[in-house]
Structures are given as C-alpha cells and as structure tokens.
C-alpha cells in the first residue's frame, strides 16, 4: 500500500516579511556551513524570534496593542472550548504574552525609553493576532515556531506542528539505545519527519555515538523546513534529509536500519471534517488523513519495517489510540508472524494507549 497524494497546501505568502529577513542578519548564532537547499528550492520562513529587530514602536503604541489584544482574547471566553475544545481566555492570554516575547527584542521594556525595538511592525502585530482569533490560525504558525522538548523548531503552513505526545518517542529511543550497543552506531530512519522533530531529538540522543539518522518526507516544504531546523541545531553531519514517499528514498537501506520511528497520519478520513479549527483548517491534510480506518500509513510502515530493519532493530510508531494499537499488534502478530518480537503498547501522558513499539526478530 503506497500513499500517492501529491497535493501540498501552499504556505501563506509573506513577501514583505521575507524581504525584511535574510540569513546573514539573524540575531542568533548560525551554523557556519551553508544551507544546502533541496532540489525544489523551497525557502523556509524564519521564525519570528530569530528575525532582526529592525522595527521601532512607541511604548504607548505597544501598550495599546496589548490592551486591544487582551480585550479580544477576553471576549472569546469559553467560545472556542464549546465550539471544538479549543482555547479559553486564560490560555489565549498566555499565547499573547508569548507572541510579545517573540516580537519584542528587549523584554524588560525599560520605561525610560519611549521606543521599543520590534521584529515586526505594530501593524503586523495586529494582523497576526487577528489571524489567531478570527481565522483560528495556530499560534505556532503565528510565531513560526513550536517549543518541543528542549528544542525550538521552526514550523510554517504545510508542516505538521509537532505534538507534545510525540515527545515521548525520544524517551523510548533513549531508553532502548542505552540498553543496546548496536543501536548506537547504526542508521535510524524517521519517516514523515515533518519539521524534523523526531530526527533532531534522536540525532541528539546519538550525538556522541556513531549513529546517524535519515529523515524522509513527501512534502518539499517539510523537507526544507526540517533541513533548516537540522542546521540550526548543527546536526547536518548526523541527519540526512531525503524527499519522497515513505520507504522509496530508502531503497539503499533495505535490511540495514537499526531503528525506525514515525508519527504517520492516523486520523480516519471521516473524522477530518470534525477536527479542531486550528488543525482542520490550517495543518497539512497529508500529515493527518490516515485513510478509511486511519491505518493506511501504519500498515504500510509495518510491512516496510519487516523489510528495512536488520535483526534486533527497533521501531516505534504513534497511533490514534488503543483501537489502532491493538489492530496494529494483531496485524504484526498474524500477518507478519516471525518478523517481530517484544511487541509493546505504551500510553501517552493522558493515559491513552498511543504508541506501538517492538524489535525485528
């Protein structure tokens, strides 16, 4: 079974923002090696907190924005919660604070100075908060980054926002690598890498070991953004990015992988229309839609794992919950018997059976 979806949501175009930023003027230290752009030459957006503070605003203007934004958030109350379990006012207040954190250069905002240095103009700030509230645009797309484990990952439209549940997969990898010498020095694969979250998390686990990570994604936008994130964390020597569908970019690694991880699309197609607005309206469907049962990609990964992993190799997949976990384990035990051992289902922090992991026989 092979996903052949080729459509990719086009990212928002911000010509003004793109013009105002360039790599050479980033305010954060940047890796010395040049960014090698993927074949399609998609240029990733620079997250807000890394843009140069070239704008200047009166402190009273910023305060006016703050009061306006707070009033807008306050008026939401529990509307979003009742609508689709979205944010309530108190969390929107915190998001607003974080937006200011990223947009304003000097967080202490010395009152003696009448002006404040900003990374975007005050008009843009109004625009961003309107998008957040009126269009339910995800906060992570508004600021262009997501804080995940101890990383700050660039994200933009067309790239799945990494979920906190997925943080746990890196812990699983850390545990299994600690107990198995062979897994430290081999090649790991992260399929459907999106922003590169899992690849980077695992790359850091393997930092002082010989192991490497190959990360693949069907979307050229995701590949470009993941490459940007890999470069920000100086892991180009350890993480290789390849564009393509699932195992196609890995034909040269059949039977050689020591580890395989993925957070594949796992939402049943019929549930897509009912998703929270931030997700359904804005995030890439290709990263969410798991087909009729939500298991198309998962089953494909199981087949591929049997083919790609070397004996003793480890895999971990994220799923929709207990039903999919059990179905997956049944599939591996019945249809791929003899291929896998030590199959295990693990819960996420909410107690939902979320992850399936095991080893190649």
């Amino acid at each position: 079974m092979n996903l052949t979806l080729s459509s990719v949501y086009r990212p928002y175009s911000f010509p003004t923002l793109l013009k105002s930023s360039s790599f050479s003027t980033l305010s954060r230290p940047f890796c010395s090696s040049a960014l090698s752009s993927p074949p399609t030459c998609v240029k990733p957006q620079v997250p807000l907190f890394l843009r140069p503070p070239i704008y200047s605003t009166k402190l009273c203007e910023l305060k006016k924005w703050h009061d306006w934004a707070k009033g807008v958030a306050f008026s939401i109350g529990s509307t979003f919660v009742h609508s689709d379990n979205g944010r309530d006012s108190s969390i929107l207040f915190r998001e607003m604070k974080w937006l200011m954190e990223d947009a304003v250069e000097d967080h202490s905002m010395i009152v003696d100075d009448e002006r404040v240095k900003m990374r975007i103009g005050i008009d843009e700030l109004y625009c961003l908060w309107k998008q957040r509230i009126h269009e339910r645009r995800p906060f992570q797309y508004v600021v262009g980054c997501e804080h995940w484990r101890d990383l700050v990952l660039s994200v933009q439209e067309g790239v799945l926002i990494p979920r906190p549940e997925t943080e746990l997969i890196v812990d699983f990898v850390y545990d299994v690598v600690s107990e198995n010498e062979d897994l430290k020095s081999g090649v790991w694969a992260d399929l459907g890498t999106g922003s590169g979250a899992l690849a980077i998390g695992i790359g850091r686990v393997l930092r002082s070991e010989g192991g490497r990570v190959v990360a693949t994604d069907l979307s050229p936008v995701a590949v470009a953004v993941a490459a940007y994130n890999v470069q920000r964390y100086c892991l180009q020597d350890k993480i290789e990015l390849r564009e393509g569908s699932w195992f196609e970019p890995l034909k040269d690694m059949e039977g050689k992988l020591v580890g395989l991880v993925s957070n594949p699309p796992y939402i049943p197609s019929k549930d897509i229309s009912g998703l929270q607005a931030e997700v359904g309206r804005h995030e890439p469907r290709v990263a969410l839609d798991g087909g009729t049962d939500g298991m198309d990609a998962l089953l494909h990964l199981c087949d591929g794992a049997g083919l790609m992993l070397k004996p003793g190799g480890f895999f971990a997949f994220e799923t929709n919950g207990e039903h999919q976990c059990r179905a997956l384990v049944d599939y591996m035990e019945n249809n791929r018997s003899g291929s896998f051992c030590n199959l295990e289902i693990r819960a996420d922090f909410a107690g939902i059976q979320r992850f399936v992991m095991g080893f190649h026989q």
Binding site: E95, F139, Q140, R149, L160, Q276
Partner: protein, 466 residues
C-alpha cells in the same frame, strides 16, 4: 603594611632604629617586626578548597595549632585587646572626626556583633568537633560523609580566619598610630587613621554578611504567595505581594522567573511561585515567610468599605548539588497534564503546556506552566518538587521551619508578620521588629531591604549565646 614600614625606614631610619634598640627588649623587637611584615588576608573565600588529610598525627598538630591560635586573644604591643577597647567605653564620634579611639571602638563593636551573629562559641565547638572527625584514620572510608565534613570544616575555618584577621588588622593599625605619634610622623599617622576609617566602613559590610551565615542562606530560592480567605480582594492583594517581590528581586539584580501562576476569577492570583536566581536570595527572602495583612478600601467593593485581606508567603531554598537530596522514585509520582481529555495527538492543536506533579506518599505537589513545552515544564516541576521535598525533610529533622509549615496551613490569622495599612492612615509595620515606614507605595514597589535587614538583625541578635 610593607609600605608603612618602608616609608618609616626611608624618612626616619637612624632615629627609628635607635629608638627600637634603645627602648625595647630584643624579643619585643622581633615580635613587632614580624607583625609589620605579616601579610593580611582581608577576605577569604566562602568555600575554601577541600582539605585532604595526610597523616593523623600531622593533622592533629595542624588543627591543634589552629585551635591554639584561635584561643589566644590577640593584642597590641602594649596589651590592648578588642575586649579592652570595648571595656574602655570610648566615645564613638562621627566618621569625619579623626579620633582613632572612636574608630577603634566602632570597629570593636562590629567585631563583637559579628561574632554574636556567627554564634562564635558554638562555631568554635563545632570546628573542634569537625577537626577531631577529620583526624580519624577511617575518615575516608565513607567518601560522601568525609567530603561533607571536610567542606563544612573548610567553611567554618574560613569564617573564623576572616574574623580573626580583621581583629588582628585593627590592633596592628592601632600599634602603627601609636608608633607614628611617638615618632611625630604625621603622614604615617594620617595613613593609619585612614586605614581605620576604611576598616570601620568595611565592618558594616561584614556585619551584614554575618546575618547570612545559615547553611542555605547563599542559595537561590522559590517564593510562593497564596491568597487568604476573602475572595477577590485577597487575590488582588496576593498579586500585589507577588509584584512586590518581583520588583524587590529585580532591584537586587536577581533573575526572576514565574514558575507557576493560578489567576483569580476576577482579579489577582490565587497562588503563584517565582524562582529567584542569585547568591543569598534565600538568605534575604527567608525574612518574608509568614502572613502579610492589608487594610484598605477595596476597589472591588461598590460600597467603598474598608477591607482586611491576608496573603501567605513561603520561601524555599534551592539546594546545590553538594547537598543531600530526598530520593524521589518515579513510581511515587503522578504526572498530570492539564486539559488532557479527548483524543489528543494529531486531533488537537495545543499550547497548554502546564504540568502538575504529585508526590503520592507526601501529597506534595508542584505545577509549572512558564515553559512553552510540556517536556520543559515537567523538568521545571521536578526541580520545584525536589526543593519542596528537601525542605519538608529539613523541617522534619530540625523543626526549624515550623513557621513555614504554619504559614501555609493557617493562612487567615496565623503568624502575621507585617501590616500594610492604606486607609485611614498610611503605614507599613513589621510586627516582629516594630520597624515601620509611612510610605506603603515604595514598599509595594519593592523597597523591602530595611524590613528584611531589621528582621534578620533582630532574630539573630536575639540568640545571644556568643
């Protein structure tokens, strides 16, 4: 000091030597000269390096000589001691008056106060006991315990040496002044007086340092504020108190991070925790433990009535790696993420990253929401929990934190430490020291040092067992 000696030799060489030889005995000459050449250590590091024992007998001799040196009371060449200076009851004049007796008395009083604050007699007993422990042959059989004993010994020895050196310096400056007067050396006398004046000013700083001599005083800390009964008015008051501490900490140059905050329904906060990063943050902030009382016309009362509100303050030290930590088992923890219901995963977008950890055996909890990732918030909450469990254990062992325990469990009326009155008159008064100021606004803006120092002085100087 060599500068003084060199100067004397250059300007009054023959006469100076003649006087010494003519007046004093030979042994006295040796004593005086050796004192002049001695190198002074004005400030010893708080944490001296670990002492490594070589042989038992050698150690015994070393520590014995230290004890002997500490026991012998230093004096000037004509037998004047610090106690003698105090007994003389000379007048303490203004700093600008060039009277060496005035300076000497002020410095002697400071030394006396410093020793009291350091619990000098207890310190000496403790040091002797630690020296004895260090001299045992089987000391390093338990490296962890040996390291701890060695560190404490180094710390106490450092304090004692610093005070003794300061005392010695005072007496030698007095000797120099007397010598200069005998020789009619106005320059030397002037320089020595200036040195005494500097010592007098430094002594005030050393008095302050002695207030912060507790084991955890140098630590960073968490400050928690919790609203008392009374609804919106109390929550607003709790927010004001928390803002007061943020301002105080920032003015002192500490780094302030909001770890946890539970907003009130209408205004203010129900509870909040800040982390105050910096040396001696706990030493100062521990003076704030207790219940703070506000009297004002509530802005939330449409009838403009006067209200009394309370906020409880707890301060928890963040212990360093050298300290003993309570062991935490992962299986004893319940880790909760907020709004965890629903399908989760790809179904929802979330920016709710708050984490709450419950230590099941004790019921102690920690909540963190400042970080933007759940992973980071869990790490922060674990750090807070560790500090709370460490403090709980310390309180259980020493029972010296009873005030903290009570202040959290008896919020409305117990352990009041300070009143802030905004109406019908304006005043802030510390109920433990009776120190008061008539400008509540500056206090609420973080001007707390006078209250803190007066409390630290009063509580330490009350324990008069020097």
């Amino acid at each position: 000091m060599s500068r003084f000696l060199g100067k004397s030799l250059r300007t009054k060489g023959p006469l100076f030597l003649h006087k010494i030889l003519g007046i004093s005995s030979e042994s006295h000459n040796i004593l005086v000269l050796s004192r002049y050449r001695r190198h002074f250590s004005h400030s010893l590091p708080h944490n001296t390096s670990n002492l490594v024992p070589s042989t038992g007998s050698l150690q015994i001799r070393f520590f014995a000589s230290e004890a002997a040196a500490a026991t012998t009371e230093p004096s000037t060449s004509d037998g004047l001691t610090v106690q003698g200076i105090l007994a003389n009851n000379w007048n303490i004049l203004d700093e600008n008056d060039g009277d060496w007796k005035s300076h000497a008395t002020a410095i002697a009083q400071s030394i006396h106060l410093i020793k009291r604050r350091l619990h000098w007699e207890k310190l000496k007993v403790r040091l002797d006991m630690l020296s004895f422990q260090l001299s045992k042959e089987d000391l390093w059989d338990d490296p962890v315990r040996a390291g701890k004993i060695s560190r404490e010994h180094g710390s106490l020895l450092g304090k004692m040496k610093e005070v003794n050196a300061f005392e010695q310096e005072l007496l030698e400056h007095i000797d120099m002044i007397k010598l200069a007067r005998e020789e009619n050396d106005a320059d030397l006398e002037s320089e020595s007086l200036k040195a005494l004046l500097n010592m007098r000013r430094n002594a005030k700083e050393k008095e302050l340092e002695a207030l912060l001599s507790g084991e955890q005083d140098s630590c960073s800390c968490y400050i928690e504020v919790q609203a008392g009964a009374g609804g919106t008015e109390s929550m607003d008051w709790a927010a004001m108190v928390m803002q007061m501490y943020k301002s105080w900490a920032q003015q002192r140059g500490y780094k302030v991070t909001v770890v946890d905050e539970m907003p009130g329904e209408i205004a203010g906060i129900k509870r909040a925790t800040i982390k105050v990063d910096g040396e001696f943050a706990f030493g100062y902030a521990k003076a704030e433990i207790g219940v703070h009382r506000l009297v004002r016309i509530s802005p939330f009362d449409s009838n403009k009535r006067r209200h009394t509100s309370f906020a409880a303050v707890a301060v928890i030290p963040i212990l360093g790696d050298g300290s003993t930590h309570v062991q935490i088992n992962e299986s004893d923890l319940r880790i909760e993420r907020f709004r965890a219901g629903g399908a989760g995963g790809q179904h929802v977008n979330t920016t709710e990253s708050a984490v709450r950890i419950v230590h099941i055996p004790t019921g102690v909890t920690a909540t963190c929401q400042n970080e933007r990732s759940q992973h980071q918030n869990k790490a922060s909450a674990m750090a807070v929990l560790q500090s709370r469990l460490d403090q709980l254990e310390m309180a259980r062992q020493a029972q010296f934190n009873a005030q903290h325990t009570q202040s959290l469990t008896d919020i409305t009326w117990g352990s009041q430490i300070r009143s802030y009155v905004l109406h019908p008159y304006r005043m802030v008064k510390d109920l433990r020291t009776n120190y008061e100021v008539s400008d509540p606004d500056s206090v609420l803006e973080g001007d707390l040092d006078s209250f803190i120092l007066s409390y630290l002085s009063a509580s330490l100087d009350k324990d008069d067992d020097a």
